[in-house]
Amino acid sequence: MKNRIKVLRAEQNITQAELANRVEVSRQTINAIEKGKFDPSLPLAFKIARLFNLKIEDIFQDEE
């Protein structure tokens, strides 16, 4: 699954660690999601979307 987290973080000047703290996960998890190595759970995807004031589909795109 592709995502725009890195771009959104850059736009809002947020570090991986800050984002991780705000959505209550480890920095390793944010890094793995950004690199497309790990797909977030639905509750985590909602938290990230809520943080950026966007819909889930505006951040995460299915690669198929």
Binding site: R22, E24, V25, S26, Q28, A32, I33
Partner: protein, 137 residues
């Protein structure tokens, strides 16, 4: 938001510490059951039974706190732990049965002990956790 962040980290830390304490307690009471009858209470059956019950109850507590620890992890940490547990379960089953067969068919000169299997479980879980963490770095 800051308080919420600290809550998540402190909850995970608290559960990790609790898991370490309960694991230590279980190993400690197990050592009592293993060596106590011979070296401390002179084969007294009642004391041995009581110690086995205590060890079992501490074991149940350890399982409960392990589940709590798992649930306090974030989704990636939980996936790494669950993958490691799945690999450990599979390897323990396969190695355990094969090892037992080697013993039953007298292809090995010594007895297949459960402690050997526990050792395999520990090493497998440790390696699987290291590989899992390296994969998602």
């Amino acid at each position: 938001m800051e308080a919420k962040q600290n809550n998540w980290h402190s909850e995970l830390k608290k559960n990790t510490k609790a898991l370490a304490v309960w694991t230590f307690l279980w190993v400690f009471t197990l050592a009592f059951v293993a060596f106590g009858p011979k070296f401390i209470w002179n084969e007294n059956k009642i004391i041995t039974i009581v110690m086995i019950i205590i060890n079992t109850l501490v074991g149940v507590g350890m399982i409960w706190i392990n589940r709590k620890h798992l649930n306090s992890q974030d989704p990636l940490q939980r996936k790494i732990s669950m993958d490691a547990m799945a690999i450990t379960l599979g390897i323990t089953l396969i190695v355990g049965i094969s090892y037992s067969m080697l013993d039953i068919t007298n292809l090995i000169s010594f007895n297949a002990e459960i402690s050997h299997l526990v050792f395999v479980m520990g090493i497998t879980y440790l390696i699987a956790m290291l590989i899992g963490n390296a994969r998602y770095k």
